[in-house]
Amino acid sequence: MRSMNEFYFYTEGLAVGYHGVPLIKNIEIRVRRGEILTLIGPNGAGKTTILRSIIQQLQPLDGRVYLDGGEVSKLTGNQLARRLSVVLTERVRPELMSCEDVVATGRYPYTGKFGILSEDDRRIVKESMELIHISELADRSFTQISDGQKQRVMLARAICQEPEVIVLDEPTSFLDIRYKLEFLSILQSMTRKKNLSVIMSLHELDLAERISDQIVCVKGDHVDRFGPPEEIFTPGYIRQLYQMTAGTYEERTGDVELEAVRGEPQVFVIAGNGSGTPVFRRLQREGIPFAAGILWENDLDFPAAKALAAELISVEAFRPMGSCETEQAKQVMERCGRVICALPVAELKSLVGGPGQPLQELYRYAMDRGWIKDTNDKNDD
């Protein structure tokens, strides 16, 4: 076992649950300073329970939580508050509080007996708001801003607490894509600038994969995997973790597709270089099973085709398309009796003489038999 000294925040044999009944046992979470650790897992798997246990809001049933070498449970409330702050899913409805007031509550562990803010406190509140780009919200009433804005105010509040560890429960759930990325970028820059450690739960797998140094996969009663994202996102794992019954998640790209239409293919799509993906998705929406080909396995269209096509003819990356695949494709076309050529004609022409020439051949083959009906590229040379 590695020395625990290198970790800033870690758990040992942690068991969490409610009313003395352990829900998840043997949780080992380890995070260094400046690292981001993310919990992923299906709804109700216990991510929030784990988070609430490590921030001492829920009594751990077994095991210990360490922060900077010391046991967290031995710290006083104030000591812990100065080192660890939170952004929770609990809805806050403070009346008559401006956003600045809400952010300023983060200074609570530092103010005196009556909670009067010093000049320093006010400066830190201001800086935190600038960092999250919410200075313009300062005087707005907290109850009257949008959920996304509230979330950012709560982050500013957490940062203004000047923590060394920040724990966030599904912080991006209410944010639109711009603010999701902005929010996570701020967290990332905080880890670099202030050596902040981040522990959070996320539902967005693609974002989790990109931002996390460590990922903890929580599955029902145990932690299924723990490690860097490249060890977590192995093909097929997400389907297994979430017990997905419909649709697919492509671990390598983060692409999501809806459930494929099964059955005998009715349309053959000649695709490549990203041209086919929108066509595949349209056919999926219309409920038409289709075949696709010929695609290199590193083609932009390959992930969507693999997820959605009832039949797929593909070639390993960097290998020429051979006559074998071409023949196979022709047979499938024959069965379908209808072909869509997603590739623009100009592009098809440029393939002549190259490794993609069979695509041009397939196109001609389909044209000659009148299988291509509804494409603008019909009027060829």
Partner: protein, 336 residues
């Protein structure tokens, strides 16, 4: 800008307090001029009767209204904070009625056996009743997730306690029954300086303690999870809050009987005046507001149909209920 608002708000409250205090001393079945009152206060009034009316009857009564009104408003503020509920108050949650019941039982018992119980004993009895009701409300709060049902259960406790009190009062066989009857309807009458000193001690110590809690209260307003992360010791905080609000409403009930709506309406008026939720301002603000509200209501109760005196609760309800309704409507609008 905010500072200015706070300053003006406090000034308004203090001016109103002094003004109503003066009117309370002047007005009554015997009208006494301001200069005469001033003379009485300085001990220079030559007319013994007037001096007695001002110093022995009106002044202690007005002070009782100031102290108990403040205590009620503060108790309401604490309960609203505790339950995160805008209409929580000692009266609505049945805490006043619980206190009333135990005090009535003690009174009837002591009258029958001719035992004397002082103000302190009454406060203890009221506190016991308040804590019993409070315990029940807290149990309900634990069992019921919804705040609306909590309020309903509080109202029901109030009805049960009031019914038993009425029953006890009706069958109490003593000449003092009239007093008991008046008290059980709520009134500031018949309070002397000894009572005032005791209530002042209890109330001002509580006020001081509540004021010292303004920082944790501000954390608690952010919700329990966040408050805990700020380093607040929740169980301890909750216990102190419950005890203090019970002591305050018990003190009121012991001396003036149940007084409705002050605890509910005043904190909202004060929040509207200050436009803030900072406890450090609202705590003294609510106290002053409650004092003014009760001075006004007691003045009306005494003088409106003089010599017949109205029960204080009838007057506070007339003013308080519309305020609460207005607040509820406004709240709906804000949410929509």
């Amino acid at each position: 800008m905010n500072q200015k608002r706070y300053f003006i708000s406090f000034s308004i409250l203090i001016v109103l307090l002094i003004a109503f205090l003066a009117v309370n001393l002047c007005a009554g079945s015997v009208s006494i001029s301001l200069s005469e009152v001033w003379n009485c206060l300085r001990g220079r009034e030559t007319d013994r009767v007037i001096s007695d009316i001002v110093l022995q009857i009106r002044f202690p009564r007005a002070m009782a209204a100031v102290i108990l009104g403040g205590a009620l408003a503060l108790s309401g503020y604490l309960l609203q904070t505790f339950f995160h509920n805008p209409i929580a108050s000692p009266f609505i949650l049945g805490i006043s009625s619980g206190a009333k019941l135990v005090v009535a039982l003690v009174m009837v018992f002591t009258l029958r056996y001719s035992v004397q119980v002082g103000s302190v004993g009454m406060i203890l009895a009221a506190f016991l009743g308040a804590m019993i009701s409070m315990a029940f409300v807290l149990l309900m709060a634990k069992a019921l997730d919804k705040m609306s049902t909590l309020i309903i259960s509080g109202v029901m406790i109030g009805y049960i306690c009031s019914a038993i009190t009425d029953f006890v009062v009706t069958f109490a066989d003593d000449s003092n029954i009239v007093n008991l009857h008046n008290w059980s309807k709520g009134s500031f009458s018949g309070l002397d300086w000894n009572n005032v000193i005791v209530m002042a001690l209890v109330t001002f110590v509580s006020l001081f303690l509540v004021f010292c809690m303004s920082k944790p209260i501000s954390a608690y307003q952010m919700g329990e999870s966040y408050a805990q992360n700020m380093g607040l010791n929740l169980p301890l905080f909750r216990t102190i809050l419950v005890v203090l609000s019970s002591v305050l409403s018990a003190c009121v009930t012991a001396f003036a009987g149940p007084v409705s709506f002050v605890g509910m309406a005043v904190p909202h008026l004060i929040k509207g005046l200050f436009r803030t939720s900072k406890p450090i301002l609202l705590i003294p603000g609510c106290f002053l507001g409650g004092s003014i509200f009760c001075l006004l209501c007691d003045l009306l109760a005494r003088t409106l149909f003089s010599p017949t005196e109205l029960s204080i609760s009838s007057v506070t309800a007339v003013f308080g209920a519309p305020i609460v309704i207005y607040i509820m409507i406004n709240r709906k609008k804000e949410k929509a």
